[in-house]
Point group: C2
């Protein structure tokens, strides 16, 4: 909701009037993982200026995408997505899926947070009806894992090499509890599968 509206009676244009501003969808990405404090958002959005985060949060709140809530337990406020805001999960997922050609080149010096895997894996694994076989690679600690998914199901393999972008090989194994269908955002967060290892995870990509 930059003051700059496109002024077009078109769904796409109006949607972009609301979430098309720089950083807006990335804030939504952070909140798709779960409620977050201001400081956590700052940490999860490396590169954002603090005044911009404050401004975006205010805008997103005014238009009904984000809501400020009381953070019971720790005292203070936490930001949460409204039900309508949560529906942006589809949009975020489609962009993540679309971006795979941009991801296969590896990090290239870009910052990585394991937290982002929650959204990325959710997007890539969510609709297995699209039968396209895919391989998702990720490295955690000193191990590298490949998740192969096709119409026959999902297999997880341990790879010998730790470098991102490696050609996968190695013997099958079950690692990190990754299994077909378990990685809805809510499940992954609830299971705590990723929480503790966020700092260790290093790369995700899909080859197709």
């Amino acid at each position: 909701m930059p003051k700059r509206s496109y002024g077009q009676y078109c769904g796409l244009a109006r949607a972009l009037d609301v979430v098309g501003a720089r950083w807006s969808l990335l804030i939504v990405r952070e909140l798709l993982v779960g409620p977050a404090r201001y400081g956590e958002l700052l940490a999860g959005l490396p590169g954002i200026a603090t005044n911009l985060l404050a401004a975006r949060l205010k805008e997103l709140e005014e238009v009904g995408v984000v809501q400020r809530t009381l953070d019971t337990g720790r005292n203070g406020v936490a930001y949460v997505l409204t039900p309508w805001g949560r529906e942006l999960r589809d949009t975020v997922a489609s962009l993540v899926t679309w971006s795979t050609p941009l991801m296969i080149s590896g990090p290239q010096g870009d910052i990585f947070h394991g937290r982002w895997l929650v959204v990325a894996l959710d997007a890539l694994l969510r609709d297995r009806r699209s039968k396209k076989p895919m391989t998702i690679g990720l490295s955690a600690d000193d191990a590298m894992v490949a998740v192969h998914a096709d119409k026959t199901g999902t297999r997880v393999e341990l790879c010998g090499d730790n470098q991102p972008n490696t050609v996968f090989r190695g013997e099958p194994a079950i690692v990190l509890g990754l299994a077909s269908g378990m990685l809805s955002v809510e499940q992954a967060v609830a299971a705590g599968e990723l929480r503790g290892r966020e700092a260790d995870l290093a790369a995700v990509f899909e080859s197709r």
Copy 2:
């Protein structure tokens, strides 16, 4: 592809690095309907500055979303989406679907082009597996039409009132050739259903 990259190894961030700039997705919207000349894009994107359109087209071409082609027939260049660019149809559709709460208030002075209906109707009617019943309203010339879609199928009704945002009523009729499943982008364009009446169509919205 603003020079400003988010610098994050995250699918969403990299996607937004490519199509997150202002006007980029609206250009994609125009090209989803079909190839277009520079002047046609200018006309279809009211409010864009001509230098910005030129810049965006160059960026989108460099990253492989758009391609310049020879416009055989009329001599000159035409802009087309690459296969990868066409895959943004999913993203655009999800944003259009998400935007419906922003559309029910009506045009409110915003510009409207019937051409945009091709993308909007494609998005709203494309996946009838999501069984949510919906009503799409549109007015053409002096008639107002309601398309009701639910799990039982699609009905088209003619409404008595010409004003956008009217409560639908009236006797059933088939108007404009709107029928379930006929409105893939390609079909609508090929059938010329909308081409000739673009200037007449006035509103589309969904109530849910």
